[in-house]
């Protein structure tokens, strides 16, 4: 209602704000440039052979030369990650909704969700590969790693409903479905999105782990398989190139999910609001 007066120092603060933002981008870029420079320098000065440690130029050259093979593998891994992520999202949210409807279901099954989470996926993968077709096993691995953060975050969110708002729904005779749809799910949304953001990166990890396990069993064409294969052939530059692609894929997945989360929450949730409002 009341218009706040603009503080006289505002323009200067804007400039310092801009400086701070620029610095936040420039500083890590500078660190990367220095690291790459040092890496290149060390390789050249010591005359290290590419099969021991390739220089950044060699890695980049491999990335360009082998783009055909690497990009195909990248697509395979990304597709697996996506399938695992979707399965984790759907499975995690659905399970959380089920848990929320009945305390007994929650008490009965939650410990097993924890067990599945704390058992290292690298140890489960070989077993899954015995019982499941390879592609399915890889997706299941991605799902196992990814679903738990979605489950636990969604559960937390569904239980964080404002007590008075819940009372209001009760007063107006809301059905279970109405309470879920108009109250619990919207209230849990920020938590769900947080869970999904974690699950995105974890699905990639799950896919890579499963591919490596499967790769040693003889087949596959994802990026992780390329890394293992290049290792056997002492094609170290290609290992680095594939690793680079995996890192970039992880960053992009995280960035995309963070963006989606921001777009959905920007009108109302504290996490998506600027600090001035």
């Amino acid at each position: 209602m009341s218009k706040e007066q603009t503080p006289p120092l505002a323009p200067r603060r804007d400039i310092t704000d801009q400086h701070a933002r620029l610095l936040r981008i420039l500083a890590p870029v500078a660190v990367m440039a220095v690291t790459i420079g040092l890496w290149s320098l060390i390789v050249r000065i010591n005359n290290i052979q590419p099969y021991v440690l390739p220089g950044p130029e060699a890695v980049f050259k491999t990335l360009v030369d082998d783009w055909q093979v690497l990009s195909n593998s990248l697509l395979v891994t990304l597709w697996t990650t996506l399938e695992g992520f979707v399965a984790a999202a759907v499975g995690g949210i659905a399970l959380a909704l089920l848990f929320n409807q009945s305390k007994w279901v929650e008490y009965s099954f939650f410990p097993y969700a924890v067990i599945l989470q704390v058992t290292p996926v690298i140890a489960i993968a070989p077993l899954l590969l015995i019982y499941l077709p390879q592609q399915t096993a890889v997706i299941v691995c991605a799902w196992i790693v990814g679903f738990f953060p979605v489950l636990s975050n969604t559960t937390l969110g569904l239980n964080s409903v404002d007590r008075n708002l819940a009372g209001l729904f009760q007063l107006y005779g809301a059905s279970r479905l109405q309470t879920l749809r108009y109250l619990k799910l919207p209230a849990a949304l920020p938590f769900i999105l947080g869970g999904l953001r974690i699950a995105g990166g974890l699905s990639l990890i799950g896919a890579v782990v499963a591919e490596i396990a499967a790769g040693s069993a003889g087949a596959g064409s994802g990026l992780a398989y390329r890394i293992a294969e290049s290792g056997y052939r002492l094609n170290i530059p290609r290992m680095f190139a594939a690793l680079l692609l995996l890192s970039v894929a992880g960053i992009v997945i995280y960035g995309l999910l963070a963006l989606v989360s921001h777009l959905i929450l920007r009108r109302w949730h504290e996490s998506a609001l600027g600090k001035e409002s």
């Binding site: 209602m1 708002l165 107006y172 005779g173 109302w268 609001l273």
Partner: protein, 271 residues
């Protein structure tokens, strides 16, 4: 949910009280006796305040009347208007906090009771516009709660309670968290609404001044478990306004109500 006590609805009975509590007690699961036994009758169109120290069970009484909790013993009766295919509810509740859904616009927040009653959108739009106009927020339908001041959020909360056209308005220290200037304005607006709409209002507060200013009847409650310690009828000339707030008559009422409240605090640490 099956309780020895009963919460019953009976048909429209214009002669009897609208809300009637008989020997109502509430003991919470942790063994705390919060209320009663309490007997209370509220007539149709009356403005009644429940006044007492923190934790004296005033809010509990309100939640029992709303049917949000069941009494441990005794009966709570609320006379309903004949259910002529009315969407919504005959009780509107305003909490201490605005209790708005942060993810929904003002319009959608006010729509909530109607939506839960499955009223068609076109029909509810008209009623929402009406309710928002009543609280002076007609231009803010598309705003989000976080964009509003504390007083405006409370107005939205009030509009949401009014949108079903309830018989009874239950208000649980609604203005306690607001600054004095905003509180005075909302007090005046609430009195205007009460005069125009002729709702029955049960208003919980811990402010002597607010209770005397607003109500026709002030009920002073004891500390836990809450019982009625004293009852005052405030027969000031209507309509009340700022002149009443500064009058000697008002000061007199406040003094006697305060006096009834004072012994309750003796022997207790001041909170």
């Amino acid at each position: 949910m099956v309780d020895p006590a009963s919460v019953s609805d009976c048909g429209a009975n214009h002669a009897g009280p609208l809300v009637s509590l008989r020997g109502v007690t509430k003991v919470y699961d942790n063994g705390v006796a919060a209320l009663g036994p309490l007997d209370l009758d509220v007539r149709r169109g009356e403005f009644v305040s429940l006044l007492g120290p923190s934790g004296c069970g005033k809010s509990t009484a309100l939640r029992l009347i709303a049917g949000l909790n069941a009494p441990t013993s005794g009966s709570v009766q609320v006379a309903h208007r004949d259910s002529e295919a009315r969407v919504g509810h005959s009780i509107g509740f305003v909490f201490q906090e605005p209790t708005l859904m942060p993810w929904a616009s003002v319009r959608e927040n006010v729509r909530l009771p109607l939506k839960l009653g499955r009223m068609p959108t076109a029909e509810s739009d008209t009623r929402i516009a009406g309710a928002l106009a009543q609280v002076g927020l007609a231009d803010f339908a598309d705003a989000f709660p976080r964009e509003l001041s504390g007083g405006m959020k409370m107005r939205v909360s009030l509009a949401r309670a009014l949108v079903t056209d309830p018989d009874i308005l239950l208000m649980d220290e609604p203005f306690a968290a607001l600054d004095e200037i905003t509180r005075f304005r909302l007090n005046n607006d609430l009195l205007t609404l009460w005069r125009d709409l002729r709702k029955t209002v049960i208003f919980v507060t811990h402010s002597v001044f607010e209770s005397v200013y607003l109500s026709q009847r002030v009920i002073v409650m004891t500390a836990r478990p809450g019982r009625i310690a004293a009852e005052f009828r405030v027969d000031a000339a209507e309509p009340r306004g700022e002149e009443f707030r500064t009058s000697a008559e008002y000061a007199g009422y406040c003094r006697s109500v305060s006096r009834a409240l004072t012994p309750l605090h003796q022997g207790q640490p001041i909170r």
